[in-house]
């Protein structure tokens, strides 16, 4: 592992260590740009994950649908967004999930910044 600057609370900058760790997972998520790949994943999730060479930890994170677990497994926000899109989740669904709030609570948190 390379040396890190001081950590930012609740934040995992996607650096070289993350890029190495998450390559297979992110490659699979990148494939979801194409509708036929989204359909292939939905038809056979386990087979699709194996085809992209996901680790057991990455497969478990995908099965969990939990964004924080996907990040821990090396997922990058830009590619994970395409995975979330398969389930029709928007950014408030994802934000609520990661912060342990209801969607309404999360939206209220955003409005409070205005």
């Amino acid at each position: 592992m390379t040396s890190k600057p001081h950590p930012i609370e609740g934040t995992t900058p996607f650096d070289g260590d993350m890029a190495r760790k998450g390559y297979a997972l992110n490659k699979m998520c990148f494939s979801f740009n194409a509708a036929e790949n989204r359909a292939a994943f939905k038809a056979d999730e386990e087979g699709y994950m194996t085809q992209y060479g996901l680790s057991e930890a990455q497969k478990a994170a995908i099965r969990s649908r939990q964004v924080l677990e996907l990040i821990a497994a090396g997922g990058n926000a830009y590619y994970l967004a395409k995975f979330a899109g398969i389930f029709g989740l928007d950014m408030q669904d994802i934000g609520a999930q990661q912060t342990g709030m209801s969607k309404e609570e999360f939206k209220a948190k955003l409005r409070a910044y205005a």
Binding site: P5, I8, E9, G10, T11, T12, P13, F14, D15, G16, A19, Y23, N26, K27, C29, F30, F32, N33, A34, A35, R38, V67, L68, I71, N76, A77, Y78, Y79, L80, A81, K82, A84, G85, I86, G88, D90, M91, Q92, I94, G95, Q98, T99, F106, K109, L110, R111, Y113, A114
Partner: protein
């Protein structure tokens, strides 16, 4: 020589594309955001630029981690939009301004920027939505040169380096042997964070200070490292790098750069949205 007539900056949330598609711009949720644009649309209608140089960040449509350029300059005759995986409508292709692409490429490499050149590149919502916001009726009457700045994989280029790149792009435009009118545009920001336990982070005070700095002291944000910018603005708020590049491009005009419009609204999706327009007198 070509005329660099101004600079624009706007947020680019994917949900904007959905709202335009559904025609719900006047809904209470969206109205304070869309209300910011008519003055800029009017200004563009008067100024009639021919070309837009777009500083934006690809969100995993054209670039993957197999080959991740820090700076990539488009040199295509046509740029296609495509499915990004989450169902926002795909826009028709945009025409490239190939002569200006190569003018910028040659100038940048001449000034020691080791850029990637792309004669074939897909452009995502970050490149296309600003054009749709500025020219809502039909196709935008401009050609484009997209310049992609990496915000996907750290280390990102420093704010200082991005500023230097923008300045060099401005010099390339000013020295372009053409009678065309050019605007530079930034797509991204302002503060927001989509990922991690800190998802939903917004920093209004910093955003407003940043917008003010672009008017009178555009180098202000270059004092921060990119990780400091992430801390202050969020993992995606760091897209303000695009705004810095745009504003730096205008520095060739010196004190003739005037702010003509701005808007700031929280929230659209998870984002503090910003809009600014600068004119070169």
């Amino acid at each position: 020589m070509a005329q660099l007539i101004g600079g624009l900056a706007t947020s680019h949330i994917p949900a904007i594309g959905g709202a335009i598609h559904k025609g719900i711009q006047a809904d209470p949720y969206w109205a304070p955001f869309f209300a910011g644009y008519p003055p800029v649309q009017k200004w563009l209608g008067e100024q009639k630029p021919d070309v837009v140089v777009m500083f934006y960040n690809d969100h995993g449509l054209n670039f993957f981690l197999d080959k991740m350029p820090t700076f990539a300059v488009g040199a295509a005759a046509q740029y296609n939009n495509a499915d990004e995986g989450w169902g926002i409508p795909t826009l028709p292709p945009f025409k490239g301004e190939v002569d200006l692409s190569w003018q910028i490429i040659n100038t940048l490499i001449g000034k020691d920027f080791d850029i990637v050149t792309c004669q074939d590149m897909l452009v995502d919502h970050a490149c296309t939505l600003p054009l749709k916001l500025f020219w809502p009726e039909g196709e935008a009457p401009v050609t484009i040169v997209p310049i992609n700045i990496n915000t996907v994989q750290f280390p990102l280029p420093s704010a200082k380096r991005v500023y230097a790149l923008g300045k060099a792009v401005g010099e390339a435009i000013a020295a372009w042997d053409s009678s065309k009118k050019v605007v530079v545009c930034a797509s991204g920001g302002l503060s927001h964070q989509l990922d991690g336990e800190r998802a939903g982070f917004i920093n209004k005070a910093f955003d407003l200070q940043f917008m003010d700095s672009l008017v009178s002291n555009p180098e202000w944000a270059t004092q921060f490292s990119t990780l400091e910018l992430v801390e202050k603005t969020g993992t995606q708020g760091v897209e303000l790098l695009m705004w810095l590049a745009m504003r730096a491009a205008l520095t060739t005009a010196g004190p003739r750069v005037k702010e003509v419009h701005r808007n700031y609204h929280i929230p659209i999706s998870n984002t503090a949205t910003g809009l600014m327009a600068f004119e070169v007198d």
